[in-house]
């Protein structure tokens, strides 16, 4: 798996419901270390002032996770589903699901999160990144996953994670949540630019890109 794909997965883990071992990895600094390692390899400039070490108890962290992302008066204030940030959640879910189906990305809505859950979407980006890498290696159709990555991140992730991070900034009392939120925005912004450039490069001068 490429470093970029792993970074997507790392972010995806941050926004899954916090199981005990995952919280432990936040507290122990394992997340921070993994992040530093992967960001460098993925070419993502990681500001060293970010601290991704959780400095609270797992009980407090879980309770805040629920209050931010799962329930609240009139709904979770920092919902993790992209559809809640778009005009029409059904349409958003439909588009996301169509992407998943097109690229054979496994999704089960009943046992899993809804298709537009942030973790799911990030994992899908990792999935496409994997397809891209595999196609590159085998000289296959790498353009499909590349263009899909570009479109998916542009139409979906890049259009809402900024709002999510701002909500978290306002609501959260735990710096880990704020920091990961901001970092996610930076990463998605970086990836959006990178993928757009890459796609442009290829579509403008494919031969040069291949070379």
């Amino acid at each position: 798996m490429s470093a970029t794909a792993s970074l997507y997965r790392l972010f995806a883990d941050v926004y899954l419901f916090p199981e005990a071992n995952r919280i432990q990895s936040f507290i122990s600094g394992e997340l921070q270390r993994n992040f530093e390692k992967l960001a460098g390899a993925a070419g993502f400039q990681f500001d060293p002032s970010y601290s991704l070490i959780l400095d609270t108890t797992s009980e407090v962290f879980e309770s805040e996770f629920i209050a931010l992302h799962e329930v609240g008066m009139g709904g979770a204030p920092c919902a993790l589903h992209s559809g809640h940030y778009m005009r029409d959640r059904s349409k958003t879910m439909e588009e996301v699901l169509r992407f998943y189906r097109f690229f054979h990305f496994k999704h089960e809505s009943t046992t899993d999160h809804f298709p537009d859950h942030l973790s799911k979407e990030l994992k899908f980006m990792a999935h496409l990144e994997g397809q891209f890498g595999a196609a590159e290696l085998s000289d296959g159709d790498f353009l499909s996953p590349l263009l899909a990555q570009r479109d998916f991140i542009t139409r979906n992730l890049n259009s809402w994670v900024g709002e999510l991070a701002a909500f978290i900034e306002n609501r959260s009392s735990i710096s880990f949540n704020k920091e990961t939120g901001h970092l996610l925005v930076e990463f998605v912004t970086y990836e959006t630019q990178r993928l757009n450039q890459l796609a442009d490069q290829f579509t403008e001068s494919p031969e040069e890109y291949k070379a």
């Binding site: 419901f17 009980e59 879980e62 309770s63 629920i66 209050a67 799962e70 329930v71 609240g72 008066m73 009139g74 709904g75 979770a76 919902a79 589903h81 559809g83 809640h84 959640r89 059904s90 879910m93 439909e94 588009e95 699901l97 169509r98 992407f99 189906r101 097109f102 690229f103 054979h104 999704h107 089960e108 809505s109 009943t110 809804f114 298709p115 159709d141 353009l143 499909s144 996953p145 263009l147 899909a148 479109d151 139409r155």
Partner: protein, 927 residues
């Protein structure tokens, strides 16, 4: 899938949209209770475990030639239900509170952990305070499984379930006083037969979206449509006449029309003679009927008399039929009758009523209600001439302190003009029944028809035996008598709970907020009602039975209760050791709970539309998708609680016990009882049983089954079944006719379930006589809330019948999207407030802050506050309920008289909120 997609070749976002979606399944659905009467058949389209959309799909046939069919049926809420399904407000996992109540700090727990903790709290409560300390408010949004599951669970432990009709204030006390039941309901298509439609105490343009077309269609046919409301409501736009009545003066208006009918000789005499007590003889000195016990030694106390014009004698009024045979009762007149005590001067009830009506000549009434005398006369004549129907009353008059007087006055007008028991006539309330499987399933020990046949046989035997004792009794009347005797279900009128434990006592004891005709203190009446045993068997919880566990299922007690969430949080919450909310979403009550248990929404479980004669159909909602996360249907939630209760009872050696009403309980086998030893676990099996049982008892087609309704989506009712409420609609449903209740009373002379066996306008109960309300009259609304300038009226919010949809973003975006009050433009100018400016609304009870919507549609002095909003949608989480004390009228605690006795959803005091007085204040912002 396209070739391109097959290959996974993607060049642009268009490519993902090329695949034509085939639905994995398309199912029938409806929205099972939130929007009574609902029952709109919808189709739900499912792919990959997601319900993507729904659409109205009713294909009901024409029932009666010349009458439009019910199609289409649906509303904005229903057409967007999937948005609620996937709304931000869903709760998907069991949550345990980890902070203070209301703080919003939660922890996910397993069902097992939650159930263990809850079960232990229940056992502790029973040990400490008795079974009555476990309380379940009655939510409206319980659907099929919440209703049955909660009833079985609560009765298995001996806990108390609060009567839903008092909780939602949808009781119609005036109907009950007159008819002995509160709930006449015609089918919606019957509206078409009306020649005059009175939209009175309702706003169907908001609340009856699927059915409004019948009003328009009746109008095309020539009906005159009137709205009678203080505000030019959204329905007024579609009416021919809008009568802007002064708030709370509707009784004077109705009595004035009755006066015109009498004055101008427009009474339909035969109808009034047969249907009503107006010809019965009464003593003007005592305001009591002449009784057989006064005429002969050992005579009956419930045998009354009329004056026969033919024999010129007082003769007994038959109790077994409304028809008079050879007798020709005088409708008016004064007569001297020889009684045991000597000659007594008597008069008919109508004669006693006439001087009262003279106080309400149109000119006099105009001074009270502000409707022009000419309008009163014209409308009265029309009502006397044409079939007239009050649509959408839905009991809202009962939300006035003197709602009983308003309703009695309306019914007097209708009784004089032949306006019930015929097509296109009558008033409306809400009803349920027919789907007898709902309750037979709770009585069965095995699947199949045998036990239902036994129930039917038992009912036959009971009827025969009752007839031996009283040859005049009818099946509908017997069904009510049986319902009155059954107190074992644990359903109780909630006013004892509110009075002793919820904090209502303070407001209710405030005499200034009651009518001046309340001669003694409120507590004297309360004590008398208890001491006289008028509420025997249902006067729980008592003062000493402090509630310890509250299980909210399908309701939202902190939003709904008059007096407000602040009152409950202050008075009730500290006593509770365990608060459980079973909900699909984080409601205000859930927020203040100790556990929130996630419940499946519509489309995620089987359900049936609330069975009613309104739509005349049992509508099916299939399980189109699985519930998200760990949500389960309510039956399963209660089953899990039962299972744990059984386990913990065994582990703790919790022995059998009796509740305070004498019911015996053994929790060591409560789960096996709940599931009938594992027979009733699967919702398909239970639903199939319910349908088949109902078919056996005659309300559904003989071949009805789950399989059949899954295919067809609905069944039309073929009969009324066996429940008291359904039977007392007193009309046999016909396949080719609209349904008008009480036809059996008019066409077959079937007696009414009242003391006099007629629609009863004289209520001789001493409290009523003391208050001068033994006959219909008008009284101005008391100053509930104190001496303030404005009167708050309310109604159902746009698109949201109850609170369920109010927090949904999409629904909010279809209108102003936030709570607001409508006030008149002159008032706004006086107060110096701008449109959308937040103001303080306050009175002696409380306050709330809300933006104003300025509109001349509100009368000067009126504040329209649509209800249903969650307290947390208001500043400081103070809602209108905080300023509405929810007074109950003391007379409604009366009992020990004829039909004035509690049975489920019927006679009981209910809190009122219309005409609460308040002031409005501009908020002065500090620098």
């Amino acid at each position: 899938m396209s070739e391109q997609a097959e290959k996974g070749q993607y060049r642009g976002v268009d490519d993902i949209y090329r695949e034509n979606w085939k639905w994995d399944k398309v199912t029938w659905a409806s929205h099972c209770i939130d929007c009574y009467p609902g029952n709109c058949p919808m189709r739900v389209y499912v792919k990959d475990g997601i319900a993507w959309r729904e659409e109205p799909a009713a294909v009901f046939p024409t029932i009666e030639e010349g009458v439009p069919d019910l199609n289409p049926m649906g509303c904005q809420k229903g057409a967007g239900w999937t948005r609620t399904l996937y709304g931000k407000e869903r709760v998907m996992y069991p949550l345990k509170r980890v902070g203070e109540r209301g703080e919003g700090k939660w922890k996910r727990v397993s069902w097992d952990e939650a159930a263990t903790d809850i079960a232990d709290s229940i056992l502790d409560a029973i040990e400490e305070k008795g079974a009555e300390s476990v309380i379940a408010p009655s939510g409206c949004n319980t659907h099929t499984w919440g209703t049955v599951g909660r009833q079985m669970f609560m009765s298995s432990i001996g806990g108390l379930t609060m009567d839903v009709n008092a909780e939602m204030n949808d009781f119609a006390p005036g109907h009950y006083l007159t008819y002995g039941v509160f709930d006449p309901v015609s089918s919606i298509d019957d509206w078409f037969h009306a020649g005059v439609i009175l939209i009175w105490n309702g706003n169907p343009a908001y609340t009856r979206i699927p059915h409004y077309h019948f009003i328009a269609e009746a109008r095309y046919k020539g009906a005159d449509i009137y709205t009678i409301a203080p505000d030019a409501s959204p329905s007024a736009v579609h009416a021919d006449y809008h009568l802007g009545i002064k708030p709370g003066t509707d009784a004077a208006f109705a009595l004035a029309m009755a006066q015109v009918v009498v004055e101008e000789g427009l009474i339909e005499e035969q109808f009034a003679r047969e249907q009503t007590d107006l010809p019965l003889l009464m003593n003007p000195d005592t305001s009591r009927y002449l009784r057989e016990s006064e005429m002969e030694e050992g005579g009956a106390g419930d045998q009354f008399y009329v004056w026969d014009e033919i024999t010129q004698k007082a003769v007994k009024a038959s109790r077994g039929t409304l028809f008079w045979g050879d007798v020709e009762p005088a409708l008016t007149g004064e007569f001297t009758v020889d009684t045991i005590a000597g000659p007594v001067k008597l008069q008919t009830v109508l004669s006693a009523m006439i001087p009262r009506l003279q106080e309400y000549t149109p000119e006099a009434a105009f001074e009270i209600c502000d409707i022009h005398p000419d309008t009163i006369r014209k409308l009265a004549r029309k009502i006397a001439e044409r079939p007239t129907k009050v649509v959408c009353s839905l009991s809202n008059a009962g939300k006035h302190y003197h709602g009983d007087l308003i309703e009695r006055s309306m019914l007097l007008l209708f009784g004089l003009t032949g306006n019930w028991g015929r097509k296109g006539t009558g008033v409306q309330a809400w009803t349920t029944g027919m789907f007898d499987g709902w309750f037979t399933v709770a009585m069965k020990q095995q699947r199949g028809p045998a036990e239902v046949a036994a129930i039917a046989d038992m009912q036959d035997a009971m009827f025969e035996s009752a007839k031996q004792q009283d040859p005049t009794i009818t099946r509908p009347i017997l069904a009510i008598e049986m319902a009155k005797m059954s107190t074992s279900s644990g359903m109780v009128p909630p006013f004892f709970f509110w009075f002793h434990h919820a904090g209502c006592e303070g407001a209710w004891k405030n005499r200034d907020w009651h009518d001046p005709s309340m001669k003694r203190s409120f507590e004297e009446y309360f004590d008398e009602a208890v001491d006289e045993n008028w509420w025997d068997g249902v006067d729980y919880p008592r003062k000493e039975q402090t509630p310890r566990v509250l299980i909210e299922c399908g309701g939202n007690v902190l939003r709904r209760t008059r007096g407000g969430s602040k009152m409950l949080l202050k008075h009730l919450w500290p006593d509770l050791n365990m608060i459980v909310s079973m909900d699909i979403r984080m409601s205000m009550t859930a927020l203040y709970s100790d556990y929130v248990l996630p419940i499946a929404n519509q489309y995620e479980k089987i359900g049936f539309g609330i069975p009613s004669t309104h739509t005349m159909n049992l509508t099916f909602c299939d399980r189109a998708i699985e519930p998200p996360g760990e949500a389960v249907n309510e039956w399963e939630a209660f089953r899990r609680l039962s299972e744990k209760l059984e386990q913990r009872a065994k582990e703790r050696g919790f022995e059998g016990y009796a509740d305070a009403r004498g019911g015996e309980h053994q929790l060591q086998n409560c789960h096996s009882n709940f599931t009938r030893d594992g027979l009733f676990v699967d919702e398909d099996i239970i639903a199939d049983e319910m349908i088949r049982d109902s078919a056996m008892l005659g309300s559904l087609p003989a071949n009805a089954s789950l399989e059949e309704i899954r295919r067809k989506g609905y069944f039309r009712w073929e009969g009324l079944g066996v429940s008291a409420r359904a039977l007392n609609q007193a009309t046999d449903p016909q396949p080719d006719e609209t349904f008008a209740p009480y036809r059996d009373r008019v066409e077959k002379g079937e007696p009414w379930p009242t003391l006099s066996r007629r629609a009863q306008f004289l209520i001789e109960h001493p409290w009523f006589i003391e208050a001068d309300e033994h006959l219909p009259t008008h009284k101005n609304p008391p100053k509930i809330g104190g001496d303030h300038r404005f009167q708050i009226s309310s109604g159902h919010n746009r698109w949201s019948i109850h609170s369920l949809n109010t927090a949904n973003q999409l629904m909010l975006e279809t209108h102003r999207g936030a709570p607001h009050v409508v006030i008149n433009d002159q008032d706004a100018a006086d107060l110096g407030v701008e449109d959308n400016e937040e103001v303080r609304v306050y009175n002696d009870q409380g306050e709330f802050f809300v933006p104003v919507l300025i509109s001349p549609s509100a009368q000067p002095g009126q504040v329209v506050m649509y209800n249903g909003f969650e307290p947390y949608q208001f500043t400081d989480w103070k809602s209108p309920n905080d300023a509405e004390p929810g007074m109950i009228k003391w007379l409604h605690m009366a009992g020990g008289y004829g039909h004035l006795k509690y049975w489920g959803t019927q006679w009981q005091p209910c809190p009122v909120m219309r005409n609460t007085y308040a002031s409005i204040e501009k908020i002065q912002l500090s620098e």
